[in-house]
């Protein structure tokens, strides 16, 4: 036996005794991935996880220099951008990464929806995914205010004002987030704590459950694949075949992120002035734009109900549809299946069109 093989076997035995590596390898060896024409969407979850890792690492690095204090927040971001070696790079990775992460999560969410991956027994995999999406959007909302520039200030103000319209709890929640009736130091402190402690903790816990459920139930396949006779179904091993391809996709996704960072480093606007008038045409981040535009389209009063409240109820019902559908479309009824597809298409098309409209208007 050569020295190298001895060392390898020794290391393997050492790890196996402590971490039960061989049983993990056995699980990995059994895990298989269906091969079909929609298989490309399987990569979305992996890309999202990779972008998430980028967010955690760059977020920790930014925390070293960011000061969550009203008179220093903007200056600390300026310092990161202009004085700290490669601070601009880390911040741009964080900001562009956040946008790409949410874009990929949308792709992941709708691709699993249209492949009907939410059906029994994966209802809770789907629901944890939905919650993860909400958490990531909350990350975006809370992180947007932290640089304390004029656009982030007014976009947050508008966002919280809209949230305050939610029946029963809206005003209370908005005041809790603001730390009063106005956005100020208390808001920065709260948003910072939420952004760096509350949301990461919630995300990690939910992500753990989500990934565990994915492992328990295996990869979901679309109906066209499931309907094939067993002999015609083809699979590839998750490890190493799919895993190596996953790495290639991560490399490509990282390339996209790096290209955006290098070609268009993330800047910062003038420091927020709460007493100044809001800049003309202020808009939220692109992932809130469809909701923002939808609310803009609704007249001030719809019958006896306030327009914004009416709009929020409609959006709430649409969101509720995504929560309820896994329990009604269980694959046994073609009518429900068709309804789910049409519902998803309507929401997706509406979001795209409203976002474009919002961006252009």
């Amino acid at each position: 036996m050569s020295g190298n093989t001895k060392l390898k076997n020794g290391l393997q035995a050492f790890l196996d005794e402590r971490f039960n590596i061989s049983s993990l390898l056995q699980i990995a060896d059994k895990k298989k991935v269906p091969i079909h024409k929609h298989a490309v969407w399987y990569y979305m979850g992996g890309i999202a996880t990779m972008y998430l890792a980028v967010q955690f690492i760059t977020g920790i690095l930014l925390m070293i220099y960011y000061v969550p204090e009203i008179s220093s927040a903007h200056a600390s971001i300026l310092k990161i951008n202009s004085k700290i070696d490669f601070g601009w790079f880390i911040r741009s990775l964080h900001s562009w990464g956040a946008n790409l992460l949410i874009a990929i999560l949308f792709a992941h969410l709708f691709s699993t929806f249209f492949m009907k991956a939410y059906r029994r027994p994966r209802e809770f995999t789907w629901l944890t995914g939905l919650l993860l999406m909400v958490i990531c959007m909350a990350f975006g909302f809370s992180g947007y205010l932290l640089p304390w520039d004029d656009v982030s200030f007014f976009a947050t103000k508008i966002g919280l004002d809209i949230a305050a319209k939610t029946p029963l709890i809206g005003e209370t929640v908005a005041n809790m987030l603001r730390g009063g009736e106005h956005i100020g130091q208390a808001t920065i402190s709260r948003f910072f704590a939420i952004h760096v402690i509350v949301l990461p903790a919630a995300l990690l816990a939910l992500l753990g459950v989500h990934l565990l459920l994915v492992q328990l139930h295996g990869m979901s396949a679309p109906g066209s694949f499931n309907d094939l006779p067993e002999a015609k179904k083809t699979y590839e091993k998750f490890f190493p075949d799919f895993f190596y391809k996953d790495i290639l996709v991560w490399i490509l996704a990282a390339n996209v992120l790096f290209a955006l960072v290098m070609l268009n480093p993330w800047g910062i606007g003038p420091e927020a002035d709460p007493f100044a008038p809001a800049p003309v045409g202020i808009k939220p981040e692109w992932y809130f734009l469809s909701m923002f535009q939808f609310l803009k389209l609704i007249p001030p009063m719809v019958g006896p109900i306030e327009g914004e409240l009416f709009g929020m109820v409609l959006m709430g019902l649409a969101a509720l549809g995504f929560v309820i559908l896994p329990f009604v479309d269980n694959g046994k009824s073609k009518a429900w299946s068709r309804f789910a597809t049409i519902f998803g298409l309507l929401i997706l098309t509406g979001m795209i069109l409203l976002s474009i409209w919002g961006a252009l208007s």
Binding site: I80, N81, S82, G87, W88, F89, R91, E236, P240, D241, Y244, K245, I247, L248, I251, L252, A254, N255, F258, A259, M262, L263, P265, G267
Partner: protein, 455 residues
């Protein structure tokens, strides 16, 4: 200033050259590296008496001949067409300085094309040893096209002793000639490997596909082993002012000033690194899973690296088209002082002709803008003047332009990245008048017959 101006709205003329050149480089590098690939792979087939490799090479050479002779030639002509329209003064100078070199380039190019066709059409018609010799001959001819064009391209950044003695041979074998030649050769082998991965991924026999995919992946090794050393050698020979611009950019990337070159360097390094990882985790570690789709993605990665690196190389030369001799707007460095005193609109056959009888200051300013600024800026698109001017009024634009006229770097921080403005005081006022109309969104009085229509 001796030729008409080609206006490409929004995108700008240089990007038309850039897009055409990047595609051409990706193909022409394949033409040279692919020659080595054909010769070595055929030698392997010959030694191993492996008909599977012969059959693969037959299929691959059809793809090779089509890509290099059709797409390569079309984009090559396209480059001549666009550089003649966008940078006629620079193109004219290069033709005049390197007349003999260009003649040789065309000779070798014709020989390369002829050999490529002979190679393809003699499969199974001549004996295998003779066919292998044709493959080698093709590689030699294609290498000579690189040997010559490399001298001209490197001359543009490091003209060497040519600036003193105007001896074309000194300009040709300049400081960056050898590192550039070796870097390009190693990149060519890598690109040949990438193209061959596309054809290899189509092989039906899984065992042979695995063998060929691994073989092709190894063609990326030279660039990753030698690339860093050769790049350092290349950068060592680059003018100090260019290195200073890179370091200024590293320090100011976050605020955006003067940092585009530094960011292009980063991007080139990062993309090159990702190609190494892609080659390792893709064709090398998982040759069985290396499908046609992945091969195409890998090609796109390669194209992105090539594009970024060539873009970076072009930026290294800024603000010159021929370093220390001719600025990117076609004005010779030696002429700047004279033009600044006598006026730009008195110079050049075409510019002076356009300005003749033109009394409207805005229209005269537009002529100056189109000749001196449009080689890098557009009105409303790429590096848009409208955006760069921001809220500046006419007076502040004029002060800014006066600063751009300065030759002292302490007074003009843009000197290393922009040509000094070559205009007298009246022309600066005219140019400020024109630029202020962009800012105020007033309708610009067009200068008669100044532009060729954009394609």
């Amino acid at each position: 200033m001796n030729y008409p101006i080609w206006v490409v709205p929004y995108l700008g003329g240089p990007w038309v050259i850039g897009i055409m050149a990047i595609i051409h480089i990706f193909i022409s590098h394949f033409a040279v590296g692919g020659g080595a690939f054909l010769a070595l792979a055929e030698e392997l087939a010959y030694k191993r008496k492996d008909d599977r490799i012969y059959q693969y090479l037959k299929d691959h050479s059809r793809f090779f001949v089509l890509v290099t002779t059709v797409a390569g030639a079309a984009t090559g002509v396209g480059i001549w067409f666009t550089i003649s329209l966008v940078s006629p003064d620079g193109t004219g100078s290069l033709i005049q300085i390197f007349t003999l070199a260009w003649a040789l380039e065309y000779l070798f190019f014709a020989a390369e094309l002829a050999t490529a066709f002979v190679y393809y059409y003699t499969w199974d018609r001549i004996d295998k040893a003779a066919h292998l010799k044709i493959a080698r001959l093709y590689f030699i001819f294609s290498c000579f096209t690189l040997v010559i064009i490399n001298g001209i391209i490197t001359f543009m950044l490091t003209p060497g002793k040519w600036t003193q003695n105007h001896n074309w041979f000194d300009g040709f074998f300049n400081e960056t000639y050898w590192p550039s030649l070796l870097i390009r050769l190693s990149i060519m082998f890598a690109i040949a490997g990438m193209y061959a991965l596309v054809t290899s991924s189509r092989i039906k026999d899984p065992e042979f596909r695995t063998y060929m995919v691994r073989f092709c992946a190894k063609w990326l090794l030279p660039v990753f082993i030698l690339g860093p050393i050769l790049s350092l050698w290349y950068l060592h020979e680059v003018p100090q002012a260019t290195i200073d611009t890179i370091f200024t950019g590293i320090q100011t990337s976050g605020v955006g000033n003067f940092s585009i070159l530094a960011r292009a360097v980063y991007l080139s390094l990062v993309l090159s690194g990702t190609v190494i990882l892609f080659a390792f985790f893709g064709p090398y570690l998982n040759p069985r899973g290396f499908t046609f789709r992945i091969a195409i993605l890998f090609m796109i990665c390669g194209l992105a690296v090539t594009g970024t690196t060539e873009w970076m190389r072009e930026l290294l030369r800024k603000p010159y088209v021929i370093y220390d001799y001719m600025y990117s707007n076609g004005i010779r460095k030696a002429e700047i002082d004279k033009i600044s005193q006598t006026g730009f609109l008195q110079q050049g056959k075409w510019a002076s002709g356009l300005a003749q009888g033109q009394d409207n200051p805005t229209a005269r300013g537009e002529i100056v803008f189109k000749y001196q600024c449009m080689s890098c800026h557009t009105e409303k698109g790429y590096r848009a003047m409208q955006k760069m001017l921001g809220e500046r009024d006419r007076d502040s634009i004029q002060s800014f332009l006066q600063m751009l006229k300065e030759h002292d770097k302490d007074k003009n921080p843009y000197l290393g990245i922009m040509p000094p403005l070559a205009a007298n005081d009246d022309e600066i006022k005219d140019l400020a008048a024109y630029l202020s109309t962009l800012n105020q969104k007033n309708k610009v009085t067009p200068a008669a017959n100044i532009c060729l229509p954009a394609l």
